[in-house]
């Protein structure tokens, strides 16, 4: 008997039934198909403006920094951030077409490379699929526009998030994913990132920058 | 809101007959807690009956995995305490055993389970009975002391006893409450636990007595004699000058009795010192 049959058989014996059938099976299938929403915290609700404020509050609470800028100011805001943190004006940028709308050429002192990150890269600039107001979380989906390693390897991650992409609760991200990739379909990774990498493993004291970025800076871009 | 100082036509417990489950520890070691309960209940207008056929609630067996003996003792308790308007227990632990655990002992015995559920629904820890059932908010007692209150685990988590003792203590003249940092953390008693795992129990107890001492209180109160004896024994062993009493004693105006573990000053039975004084206001220490 295969391991599979053995495990499924024991489960069914323990539950005192055969494989699900009839109405019970249909109910379980419907749950997968309809994926009903459970309880959504009230803090995730609100007008778009309130959502932005909620996002900013919780992102900051979770040790990210947030700057609200206009689209035209994005390259300047990145350069300013790097300068004010004594970081090199050099970054690897995700091959995300959504980032092309910003006038990076207007900042010739900012040296940008598009593509995969290298271990030596100290700063990464990426877009984001969404922001979750409820917890101040960035949503980063893998794909041609976004290698997963780009928001992990460099010490500093600057994420460009459009205001229109800030949703209330995590459940709205799932709606967006289903709309984009199809029902029950996910890209290889959907990383939800809340603040910079951290550890409390030495004497339970918080240290930032364990393996991933030490700094997470979010540019919240108005339209 | 009602103030209980003496039985009167306004007494909220008037007409109610209460069966008192004394608990084995109170019976054996600190009868004054039982008499304090009697006084508080009578002052509230209740008629108090103490069934003869009571020994223990069954926890030693139940918590040792001996379900058979726990059921036997539970049957006895259920039979002895049927027919009262309420059953009152001056212990959150034994009260929790009856009100929370008895029905589950009879999952395979429907008639017994129903009787256990009926008893459970009528069974209350003393202070929560006074506050939650009778609506008592104030007792006439005096106790010139700074006290800290330990929330015994079963009462707190099985019966939701947290505010009730504090509500009543707030009305005791001369009493100040100084809370611990962690009043809700176990003292390390745990019934047979403290003798089966004495060293773990001791480590927990050391944390507890440090927390108690840190409040600066001169008196420690709680609603469970087991925890109180555990903490009193440690405070005394450590030479910490904190007196330890059951909260019911203070509420009943018996705060002048020797504290738990203190030498007796008289050979007179506690019952003589604790008779309800029906025609005068209680005021201990006066």
């Amino acid at each position: 008997m295969s391991g599979r049959e053995q495990i499924l058989g024991t489960i069914r014996r323990s539950l005192k039934r055969d494989a699900l059938s009839g109405a019970a099976r249909e109910a379980a299938e419907a749950r997968l198909r309809q994926h009903p929403v459970n309880i959504v915290p009230a803090r995730a609700a609100g007008t778009p403006d309130e959502r932005l404020r909620t996002f900013e509050h919780w992102a900051t609470f979770n040790h990210a920094t947030v700057a609200r800028v206009a689209a035209a100011e994005v390259p300047q805001a990145v350069a300013d951030y790097l300068t004010s943190n004594n970081l090199p004006a050099r970054a690897v940028m995700a091959p995300d077409p959504a980032l092309d709308r910003y006038d990076w050429g207007g900042r010739p002192l900012l040296e940008l490379r598009r593509g995969l990150p290298l271990d030596a890269d100290r700063v990464a600039i990426t877009g984001a699929l969404a922001g979750i107001a409820e917890t101040g979380t960035l949503v980063l989906a893998s794909g041609p526009a976004h290698p997963t390693s780009i928001h992990l390897l460099p010490e500093t991650h600057v994420a460009v998030l459009r205001e229109a992409d800030v949703v209330g609760p995590m459940e709205e991200v799932f709606d967006r994913l289903r709309a984009r990739y199809g029902e029950g379909v996910m890209p290889r990774t959907v990383c939800t990132v809340t603040g910079p990498s951290r550890t409390g493993d030495i004497e339970q004291q918080l240290e930032l920058g364990a393996h991933g970025p030490r700094r997470l800076h979010i540019l919240l871009v108005g339209d | 809101m009602s103030t209980v100082s003496e039985p009167s036509s306004h007494a909220p417990g008037r007409g109610k007959t209460v069966g008192l489950f004394v608990t084995c520890l109170v019976d054996m070691f600190r009868p004054s807690v039982g008499f304090a309960a009697v006084k508080l209940l009578e002052d509230a207008g209740c008629r108090v009956v103490v069934p003869d056929v009571q020994t223990c609630c069954g926890q030693p067996a139940y918590n040792s995995g001996d379900r058979g003996d726990a059921r036997a003792v539970a049957r006895q308790v259920i039979a002895a305490f049927e027919g009262f308007d309420h059953v009152v227990v001056p212990s959150g632990s034994c009260g929790g055993m009856i009100a929370h655990h008895f029905p589950g002992l009879f999952d395979d015995d429907r008639p017994m389970r129903q009787r256990a559920e009926a008893l459970a629904a009528r069974t209350h820890e003393l202070m929560s009975f006074l506050v939650d059932v009778l609506g008592v908010r104030r007792v006439a007692a005096r106790c010139d002391a700074t006290v800290t209150y330990h929330d015994s685990c079963s009462g707190l988590r099985e019966l939701g006893i947290k505010a009730q003792p504090r509500t009543l203590l707030a009305g005791v003249a001369g009493l100040k409450l100084a809370e611990m940092t962690n009043p809700e953390v176990c003292c390390g008693f745990g019934g047979t636990f403290c003798v089966k795992y004495p060293d773990i129990s001791n480590a927990m107890l050391i944390d507890k007595t440090a927390d108690i001492a840190g409040t600066g209180a001169d008196t420690l109160l709680a609603g469970d004699l087991g925890c109180l004896m555990n903490m009193a024994g440690k405070l005394q062993r450590e030479g910490k000058a904190v007196r330890v009493r059951h909260a019911a004693e203070v509420l009943a105006g018996m705060g002048d009795l020797p504290a738990i573990g203190e030498p007796e000053r008289t050979e007179a039975p506690v019952s003589d010192r604790a008779r309800p004084r029906a025609h005068r206001r209680t005021s201990a220490g006066s």
Binding site: S142, V193 | C194
Partner: protein, 475 residues
């Protein structure tokens, strides 16, 4: 790992005199519980979410076969592989086989309790493959060749100085020859050392916090980002997860996530919560070419439908141990196996046998603090009591305890005899203790009097004797 749960009492003895451990536990006892309390307060829906989380897990368990098959179908459709492992040995063999076929020399791992449960590292090492733990805490204890002492904070028993010594000893050969004194320097050094290991690893092995049947996703929650690097950089990603990790939908995951991080560390959310679904897609710039999920049973399927089923709801947040005064006194190693604290006291007898681990469910005051904070409302004291009942039924309870209980029960069931016995005991104790009000020593009560005095009974006899004498109402 080899269980030492049978030696619990000896383990406790060592733990209580270990100054470094006690120093660490002093921090733990206040930190975690306070942070969880604050996080719960910040979210008004927290209690309702706990109810819902419990219901989701109960539903998943009642339909476990269905959701496992649904999960498998999704993974397979994406080109991933699902390996069903009834036993720990099956799971070890499956992982080793994957590593061998990948020609792996080193594998990076992100913290997995299942890997501890099946002793995966020892198995890989014995077959010439080097496992490298990448969670900082897990890395530290791997260097020290110790088991984890906590399910989410494996090195919580160590002080900074101990970590500094360990790093100096093991990193010197890598060119780090300065003993560090600051926490941030220790973290930075580990980052540098482990970054090299990440980049050279052939296989990445992670656990999973949840498996989502709807999408075939395995979910990982970390603060360090090590799991993401583990599942992204190597050519092969292996997820090892026990069968009860499967839940129906992404929406269900969202609910469970809301209680997980808050219960574990008091965070609003962990830094990284990642849904991994299958291998690298054709147009992905990075990610593993192969994706495997090893599903471990190891006895769980036979717990379904029993009194103990509730233990399978556990989402491994660690709140029960963070709030347990027994764990707070002795730390995790004393429990002697992989899972410490209240959940360990319930799981360990299931997984290694109650003969081996009988002390664990007994070493509890039933204070109930664990149940009061469990995000999925596992009735931990009740489950510990079930184990005590199984022990009692099987005559594994110590003879002294059984004899004491038998005497107690004999008397407790005979109220008149009981009255006489307590009357005599009361008078004898009162006589001997009258002068001091307490005893520093009592026969048969050494467990008590070793550490504390025993209060003498009040004068005047038992309550019942006095009540009778007074003419109180009886029945």
């Amino acid at each position: 790992m080899q269980s030492t749960a049978h030696a619990f009492k000896a383990n406790v003895g060592h733990a209580l005199v270990d100054d470094n451990l006690q120093q660490s536990l002093a921090i733990l006892k206040v930190g975690f519980s306070e942070r969880r309390r604050q996080a719960a307060e910040r979210l008004p829906e927290f209690e309702a979410l706990r109810d819902r989380a419990r219901d989701i897990k109960n539903h998943a368990l009642a339909h476990l076969d269905f959701y496992l098959e649904a999960f498998e179908a999704k993974v397979t459709a994406l080109g991933g592989h699902v390996h069903w492992a009834p036993t720990a040995a099956d799971a070890r063999a499956a992982v080793l086989d994957i590593c061998r076929r990948a020609g792996a020399r080193t594998v990076t791992k992100s913290k997995s309790m299942i890997a501890e449960e099946i002793a995966l590292n020892d198995h890989l090492e014995a077959h010439g493959i080097e496992p490298v733990e990448t969670d900082l805490g897990e890395y530290i204890i791997q260097l020290r060749r110790e088991p984890p002492s906590h399910i989410i904070a494996p090195a919580v028993h160590l002080t900074k100085d101990q970590v500094a010594d360990t790093f100096l000893e093991h990193h010197r050969k890598l060119g780090f020859d300065k003993r560090l004194t600051e926490r941030n320097d220790l973290v930075a050094e580990a980052r540098q050392v482990l970054r090299r290991r990440f980049l050279e690893a052939d296989v990445g092995i992670t656990g999973a916090n949840f498996l989502v049947a709807e999408t075939g996703s395995s979910m990982l929650v970390t603060n360090e980002g090590n799991a993401d690097l583990t599942n992204t950089l190597p050519r092969v990603h292996v997820v090892i997860a026990s069968i009860e990790k499967v839940i129906p939908t992404l929406e269900d995951a969202a609910t469970l996530l809301r209680v997980l991080a808050r219960s574990a560390t008091g965070q609003e959310s962990a830094s990284y919560t990642t849904f991994n679904t299958g291998p690298r897609r054709p147009d992905d710039p990075d990610g593993p070419a192969e994706y495997h999920v090893v599903l471990l049973d190891n006895g769980r399927s036979s717990v379904l439908g029993t009194q103990m089923q509730d233990m399978l709801r556990c989402i491994r947040c660690g709140a029960c141990m963070n709030h347990c005064p027994v764990y707070g006194a002795i730390g995790g190693h004393a429990y002697g196996w992989v899972y410490p604290g209240p959940i360990g006291a319930v799981l360990t007898p299931q997984l290694v046998g109650v003969e081996e681990a009988g002390n664990l469910p007994n070493a509890s005051t039933f204070c109930g603090r664990c149940e009061s904070v469990c995000p999925v409302r596992i009735p931990l004291p009740k489950l510990m009591r079930h184990w005590r009942e199984r022990e009692f039924e099987r005559h594994l309870t110590p003879a002294s305890v059984r004899q004491g209980l038998a005497l107690w029960a004999f008397l407790a069931r005979r109220p008149q005899l009981y009255r006489r016995a307590t009357g005599i005991a009361n008078r004898m104790l009162a006589l001997f203790g009258r002068a001091d009000g307490r005893y520093g020593w009592l026969p048969l009560a050494r467990g008590w009097t070793r550490h504390r005095d025993f209060p003498a009974p009040q004068a005047g006899g038992t309550f019942h004797a006095q009540w009778k004498a007074r003419g109180g109402a009886r029945r």
